[in-house]
Every structure is written in C-alpha cells, then in structure tokens.
Symmetry: C3
Subunit: 257 residues, 3 copies
C-alpha cells in the first residue's frame, strides 16, 4: 500500500481462498483487460467472462492469456455452461474449456431446470477437470427458493465437489439473494450463514450497497463477485475502511472479524 | 463465433440493412475508440457522435479515421444538426460534413420546432449528399405525440428520402417511445409497426430492458441504437440467446422471426 | 472548438478560477488517465483521487505525473485526509502530500466530527503548504445541517484560507446538498448563494440532472465537481448549449450570466 496508515484491517494475501474479489468481464478488449490488471492485479482473484459474452468476443484466446500472465484464473459465465447443456453439448463444453486452457468452471441452473442430483453429477464430473464453482438461485425473479432449500442445495453442491457456492444476483444485482430493488434479503443471508461456512460462499454483489452490506456483516475478507472492472479499486478501498461508508468500521477494534 | 453451438439464431452478416447496432460515442479518445472497435468490429454497424460532443472533442478527424478504417459510417448527433439550423447555418452544416468526410446525416427536431414540410425539405436536400437518418419524437417529456402522428411523420420522412427513421429515446432512454421511467410505450410501438416496416426503424434503446423488449418483439435482427460502447458485446450476446434474459427465446423454434 | 457556430456562450479559458470541472479518478490505470486527458485536457481543471483510492492504487506516482504533464493539479479525496486525522497522523498527511508533490489539499469532516475551530485550524496550516479546498456537508444522510449553518461554516472556512468550499454530494450525489433521491435541495442552494460568492463554491454534481440544475442557475462557468471521466465531454457540451437539455439556454441572449 502506498502510505503508512495505522488500523487498516488485514486483508489476506494472494493467492487466497477467502477475501476474494471476482470481476465480471463482459467483453473487454485486450488493452482494456491489460489496463484493468495493471491497477487491479493486487486485488483481483478471479475473472468471469460474463454469461455468453465469450462466444462473440474476438481475440478471446489472447485475452485469457493476459489474465494468465497475472496468474488470474478465468471462467466462463454459468449461462454459457447452461447453453451447452440444454443443447446436449456437455462434452463439447469440456472440450472448449480444455481448448482455451480454462480450469475453473461454473455449474449453474439459473435459466434451466435440472433435477438437483443431475446438477451435482455435473459438479462431480467437472471437478475431475478443474476447480468448480456452482451457483444457487434462479435468474427468474418470480422463482423464490425458501432459505432451508438454499442451505440444502449449497450443502449438496459443496459435497459434490464445488470449491465455492455462488449466491446468484445476476449482473444487475436484482434477483436471487436480492429483491427486485437490489435490497439484500437479509433473513435469507443470515439463515444461510447458520449452516454454510461464509468462506465457501461467493456473494455476487454488483451494487455498492450490496458490497457494503456484506463487508459490514462478514468483514473485509468476505468473498464478493460480479464486480465491474471500474469498481475494483473502490471496492478494495471500501474493504479496508477508506471510503466514507466503512470509515468507522475498523477503527478502535470495531467490526473485527 | 468462438465455439460451435447449435440453435443460435442467424444474425444477418455485415454490411447489413437490418439487424443494425448503432453505438453512441459521447467523447471517446482515439485509443478508446480503437479498443471498442477491436472487439466490436463484427457487431457494430454505425457510430453516432452523440449530441454536440463532436464540437468539443479534440482529435475529431483522427477518430473518424479510426471508424473509417473499420468501414463504419459515422454521423453527428441530431442535436448538432439542430444547433446549426437554429443559427441559420444549414449550409455550414453541409460544409462541415464534407470537411470531415461524413456521409451519414441525422435530421431531427427534438429540441426545435419546425414545420414538418420544412423538415422533409432538409431530408430531401441532405439525401443528395449522403445517407439520411431522421428522428421522430421530442426530447421534451411533456410533448406527447399520438401514435397516428408518429406514423404520419415517419411515412413522410421515409418518402422524403430517409434511409431509416429513428425512434427518439435520448441518451438516457426516458422520452419519446419510453415513459419517464424508461418503460416502453408498448401500444405506441405496436401501432407504429402496423404501418411502418420494422426494418426501416432504428429504435434507440440504451437500457437493457428496452433492448430486451425489442428483441422479444422483433427478433435478433432488430435495429437498435444509442448503445453504450461497453454494452456492444452484452447486447450481441442477448440478441442470440446467450444471456439469461433471452436464454429460451430461440430454442426449439421459439421466437423465430 | 472544431466548427464555427454562433451564439456559443463564452467559457473562461484555462487556467481559470471559475468555470472549473473537477474530475473524480477512482482508480484509473496509467493508460486510462492518459486517454482521459487526451480528450479532456481542454476541459478538465482539477483531478481528485477519490476517497482513499490512492492508498491501494499501484503506479500512483506515475499517474500523478501524467496529470502534471497536462498542468492539472491533483488532490487526495477528503476521506483520506480524515483517515490520517482520526489516526493522529496529520503530520504524516503533510509528508505524504510533499512526497507525492501534491500541492492541492482537501480538508473535510464528512465522516468524522471535529470542532469547527479545529477544522479551520487545519485549513490555516495546510494553506501554508498549498491550495486548500474545504468541504462542507456530512456524508451521513441523517445529519441535516440547516442553511444558516452551511453559510457560517463556508464563510469561516474561506476566511481561514480555503480557496474553494466544496458542497458535499458523495460520489453518488445523494447526500449534502441533495436529497437521498439525488434531487437538489434548491432552497438550501439558493440561500447559500445569498451570502457566499458562487465562484468560491465547487458544487459536487455527479448526476446529469444536478449538473443541469447548476448550469441553469449559475451559467456555463459554474464550478462542478465529482464528474466521472466518461462525462467530461458530455458536461462540456451541456455547458455550452449543445445538448438537448440546455439547447435553448444560451440562444438569443437567454440565460446570460
């Protein structure tokens, strides 16, 4: 860090399993990816190529190389996994990941309905090829999953081999663990945390108020995802109490986690 | 496209008259324009230099050259046309277009009142110098145009020589064919489409929900405009069903247009 | 300017004391800062490194050099000043400014409570080291300061040595002189202006409607701050009447200030 300031909370150092910032790249050019990494490299842990954007983005291979040069794992958005699956092209999906040297894979069912045992089967299979993140929560705002069910699903997916379970929010942050307004379903989040270890959950939190909620609840080393490229530095600043919203959180032993 | 996926709807290939993506550049630097084109070149059809931004943007000529190198036509936002017109500098406008080698021109009356016959006269005159796009709809939220009038205006402007009529939305997407909230005036849109061929209309649709509405209504090859540079890839992904919102739209013969 | 257009209001030329555009950089990379300056250099007057972002941004010194090469003064966001202060590291703050060759400094109390005489003391001290901007208004939405108090605070701070007083809005534009919705507290603004010269106030106005309000109230040479990098050119265009919102403002002697 650039200056000497006391009472800055300890961020776990990279490579880390907790305190993760996952960025959503929804079509950056090569120079834009390089620009992001040139300031973001100490703070970014994983990059997701959002939904199916990797299908239509030129220079995909070169961009993945940029991230690899910073030791940043990259994965395809869950919507792409689902697009292969619904077309009966699951094996093609594995081939594409190999072809692009992608070792992180998301298993999700945000847009399709599959029996949960089958979903866990995909997690098991892909866990043999690399690191699996699996997502819980529908992209359909009308499809409400009760808290006990979130817990059941997350437990089963971790058992099946997921390294993290992702709490769905969509790019906009208005479904899954959030209401249509973007407000956190606090009761849901807190009930999940009674059963699932916080460090195994990656909370999609594209909106600032959402990031703030989780930092206040779980501390500076909470796992946050779907962060926009321009918000990497502001988020890191908020994590350590140097943004107005969290200014007092870590002072004098406040909010230690 | 990067992978092999079945059931992807057919996008018309560039150069195309339908299925157009028009981007609004509101002051990009040369490298930013190059970055956008390096990933956007297969998907972008036209670039608009938004409202009067071209007046205050340094290196304008060089930026137009960047777009030309990708065979992308560029035009000045309608507000600039109106700014010349209200100052009795219509001939200067033609000179400026020639000076910058601009052959697409927008004729609009979003901020000024001119008799419609006079507006059509400008369309006729400019159509001798290049391709004309003319815009219908006021930027003044309080000025409501009834549907039959939209149809009359659009018909007359196409007859006068417009290659496309643009349905006004402003950069924010909150006037014209939208309510102040950004919601589509669906009745208006559907009534317009009973009389004006969809492929002659360029719908300004800066918001994602607006883009989604038109893709659902008119298919993947609808003409959409006022797209932000960072939304080119996400929009293309949504057009072909690889974003959650349109995931099911093109599967099993759904939504074929 | 690129074309010849009559009836364009006179913007004061740089370097200027009035008509200032202050940009908030919240973590740009070196190439992004260069891109912004390559189009923004005729329009940008001051760059603020927002809140504590400078603490976690790599290549900070090189970025400050980029701005210096365009003769643009840079300062650290007030939250960083407050972070040093609450840790009893005020002298370290002065050292850091010297170390980075920063001669503009913000004194604020948006996140901490300090007696106003003490705040004015800091202004006096820092004014010996460079140019001071001091900010009035809390970042706490629940903490309402009545208009007469805004005037008292601003007067005292200007007397203590501030070159400008900044009217707080936060990055989002939803506190201080704005309601939670972003709407301007018009009565407050107008009462402030009965006592404090407009040219000594830098209005934080990140939202377009806020920028419009101040341009309509105070003319094209109003001081505006917390402008996003991508909004520099659109703001300049709005200032001179080449955006729909201000199209008629400067025509035929309208709105001369």
């Amino acid at each position: 860090m650039n200056f000497n300031l006391t009472q800055i909370p300890d961020r776990i150092k990279k490579p880390r399993n907790s305190g993760i910032t996952m960025v959503m790249d929804k079509g950056l050019s090569i120079p834009e990816a390089q620009n992001m990494m040139s300031v973001g490299h100490p703070h970014i842990d994983i990059v997701k190529l959002g939904f199916g954007t990797s299908f239509v983005t030129p220079n995909l291979r070169e961009k993945i190389e940029v991230y690899k040069s910073y030791d940043i794992p990259v994965y395809f958005g869950g919507t792409l996994f689902e697009a292969f699956l619904i077309r009966n092209q699951f094996n093609d999906y594995i081939s594409v990941c190999k072809e692009y040297d992608i070792s992180y894979m998301e298993v999700s069912d945000g847009s399709i309905n599959i029996p949960h045992a089958e979903k866990c089967g995909y997690i098991e299979k892909l866990a043999k090829h690399g690191t699996v993140l699996s997502e819980v929560g529908s992209k359909d705002a009308a499809h409400i999953i009760p808290p006990y069910k979130w817990i059941e699903l997350m437990s089963a997916e971790l058992k099946a081999g997921s390294s993290y379970v992702i709490a769905e929010a969509r790019e906009a942050g208005n479904v899954g663990i959030y209401r249509g307004s973007g407000e956190v379903r606090e009761g849901l989040v807190q009930e999940i945390l009674t059963q699932i270890p916080g460090e195994k959950i990656l909370w999609e939190a594209p909106q600032k108020a959402q990031q703030l909620y989780f930092i206040e609840l779980l501390g500076c080393n909470v796992n946050l995802g779907n962060i926009a490229p321009t918000e990497v530095i502001p988020l890191e600043t908020m994590r350590i109490g140097l943004r107005g919203d969290t200014f007092n959180l870590f002072l004098n032993g406040n909010g230690q986690h």
